[in-house]
């Protein structure tokens, strides 16, 4: 925290990922700077989630390098990898809360595994984290099955933040939420990013999120990054997919006009 804003926390170079005969990502390179909110957009099935899962090591890559906190993830020992994993938190698309644990126990789980804390402190910190994402003490005792979709996402965010990570990866954080809840979730992410000094890597489809909270956006199309930059760059891009996405029928700019390119 508090380092120069230009410091890179994630560096991806020439990344190639594929399954069987199919290449999903072909030569993807980009950087994530400390303290920024980076949005990743792209067509459904276009490899956004694959990119996220490759960076966090759930999918193996064919070629290229991924450097997180100045450590090349191909060359780290198991111990160093665990240290890196403690410094990032992941919010999965469906929340991925453990269904047999209450909301509070879900948030306590990573703390219990990685830190040696007293039960009182565990309870207190978990309560504080849940309150920071807007979950009151009465809901903290509920099981995930008893929570609404928006609350599940909030609890999952609290769990991603349990160990005070420096990077959080969000996989479609606002999908499945109504526009009001999605807006609240966006501002929650922005607030937490400021108070905790987080770096956010966010895969999203939500144009409002991109406008409201993202500092920078990268666009995946045809297995490559076709555009990168702040929202203004996206709006002035002439790449057909980017144009259709940001200036299409459903975008703010294109409301009322019809763009049928794809």
């Amino acid at each position: 925290m508090g380092s120069s804003p230009e410091q890179l926390v994630i560096r991806v170079r020439d990344l190639v990922v594929g399954f069987g005969g199919q290449t999903v990502l072909d030569g993807v390179s980009f950087d994530v700077r400390r303290g920024e909110i980076l949005g990743v957009v792209g067509a459904s099935g276009g490899g956004k989630s694959v990119l996220l899962r490759t960076i966090i090591g759930l999918i193996s890559k064919r070629r290229g390098s991924i450097t997180v906190f100045d450590k090349d993830l191909d060359r780290v020992s198991a111990q160093e990898m665990q240290a890196v994993e403690r410094r990032w938190g992941i919010l999965f698309q469906q929340g991925a809360l453990f269904s047999s644990l209450t909301a509070q126990e879900n948030v306590q789980f990573p703390m219990r595994e990685h830190l040696d804390l007293s039960m009182t402190l565990l309870d207190e910190v978990a309560t504080v984290k849940l309150e920071m994402v807007g979950i009151g003490p009465s809901d903290a005792r509920k099981l995930p099955a008893e929570l609404s979709g928006g609350m599940v996402k909030r609890v999952a965010l609290a769990r991603a933040l349990a160990l005070d990570p420096e990077i959080v990866f969000l996989d479609e954080p606002t999908s499945g939420l109504d526009p009001i809840a999605a807006g609240e979730f966006d501002s929650l992410i922005a607030t937490l990013q400021q108070t905790l000094g987080l770096t956010v890597f966010m895969v999203t489809h939500d144009l409002d999120s991109l406008h409201a909270v993202c500092n920078r956006i990268i666009v995946l199309a045809d297995r490559k990054i076709v555009a990168a930059g702040p929202i203004a760059t996206m709006l002035s891009s002439e790449h057909p997919w980017v144009k259709a996405y940001f200036r299409g029928k459903r975008s703010r700019e294109g409301a009322g006009t019809s763009v049928a390119t794809h």
């Binding site: 269904s99 402190l121 504080v128 005070d164 108070t195």
Partner: protein
């Protein structure tokens, strides 16, 4: 940098001073908690107290909460505690934490004896409701069957045949193996013990009557409950979880007619067949052991078997089979429909389905025994 917490004593009229410095982060949280808990308050104080945090180099949520807890501890002693020398980058976090943890969760304490009693009551009503649900499902199924008698084309024949393949044909190998072993074991034990008083030959009566009347159908029913009943519950349960059953309903289709009837019909057809083959296999296993272990040649075994068992014994076993299939099918379907949203509930209901159907099968076997005894079969 290791975290430090220094409390300068308020002796000789001097003001109480508190300095915090170093890294107040999660890695040091346990150590910091001990330091905070170690502060002794001799007497309630008063007046303004500044907690100097200028020396803090790193701060995360854990550290911020511990600072807040420290401040609250002083406030509880009557001080007007505040943070001093807060650097700008920590301000947002400390403010955020300051607002948290104000509402204490209400802990509901229960009398353990009352809780146990409540548990028993809940289990008892649960049992009653389970029976009601089974009767309700049976009633609805009868309704559907009546409907199908009027419009036979509505019966899902393909689905029933598919299920029959799964629960009947595919179950044959394991049923063969298990019943063969059971027959062999009974024969071996019978020969071993009967020989002592020279009645080794009566093992044929033992195997024949036991297998045909009781064990054949019971073993097969228990196997089917574990193998097919559990898969029915898991299938219907995951369909319930993914709202497929609701989707069926909204399309004007009755889940009982579409999903349950073909499954239960398949089970009712399959279980007598499996029981027949199972019983034959057990007799075969018994014969093998009688020949290899007891030295009774197969023609003699078959001749003795003809004398020992009658068609009645066979009928008693076979009559029970379809009723047991009905119970297994009903329990499996009704448990499947009770699955709620979580993966855990699916597991619980699948277990419950197997346990309940085996229990009911054995209870029913007992009632059948009384019934057949009183009608003289």
């Amino acid at each position: 940098m290791a975290p430090e917490l220094i409390v300068k004593d308020a002796s000789a009229g001097a003001r109480l001073e508190v300095f915090a410095s170093g890294s107040w982060i999660s890695a040091h949280a346990a150590e910091l908690e001990q330091k905070i808990d170690a502060i002794k308050f001799d007497a309630p104080g008063s007046g303004r107290l500044d907690i100097d945090i200028a020396g803090i180099g790193e701060l995360d949520t854990f550290g911020a909460w511990l600072l807040e807890r420290l401040a609250r501890a002083f406030i509880a002693q009557g001080y007007d505690a505040q943070f001093a020398e807060v650097s700008g980058r920590f301000l947002g976090l400390l403010d955020e934490i300051h607002a948290c943890g104000r509402t204490k969760p209400v802990v509901v304490r229960q009398n353990p004896i009352l809780a146990k009693l409540e548990g028993i009551g809940v289990a008892a009503t649960e049992f009653g409701q389970d029976l009601l649900r089974l009767i309700d499902l049976l009633g609805r199924m009868c309704g559907v069957i009546a409907l199908i008698f009027r419009h036979p084309s509505r019966f899902r024949f393909a689905s029933a045949v598919h299920q029959l393949d799964r629960v009947g044909w595919q179950a044959l190998p394991i049923i063969f193996l298990i019943t063969l072993l059971i027959g062999a074991i009974i024969a071996q034990q019978g020969i071993f013990h009967f020989r002592k008083f020279g009645a080794g030959d009566y093992v044929v009566d033992l195997v024949g009557i036991l297998v045909l009347r009781e064990l054949g159908v019971l073993i097969v029913a228990i196997m089917v409950a574990g193998r097919s009943g559990s898969s029915y519950t898991a299938e219907l349960g995951s369909m319930k979880m993914r709202e497929e059953i609701d989707a069926l309903r909204t399309m004007g289709l009755d889940p009982v007619e579409v999903l349950m009837l073909p499954r239960i019909v398949a089970l009712v057809c399959a279980l007598p067949i499996l029981t027949f083959f199972g019983s034959m296999c057990a007799l075969y296993g018994g014969g093998l052991v009688a020949w290899l272990y007891g030295g009774m040649s197969p023609p003699i075994y078959i001749a003795r078997l003809k004398e020992a068992v009658s068609v009645t014994h066979f009928e008693v076993g076979m009559i029970k089979a379809p009723f047991m299939a009905l119970v297994i099918g009903l329990v499996a379907c009704s448990e499947g429909l009770q699955v709620a949203g979580s993966a855990e509930s699916l597991g619980l209901k699948t277990t419950a389905s197997v346990v309940k159907s085996i229990f009911l099968v054995i209870v029913m076997d007992g009632f059948f025994a009384i019934f057949f005894a009183s009608v003289g079969m």
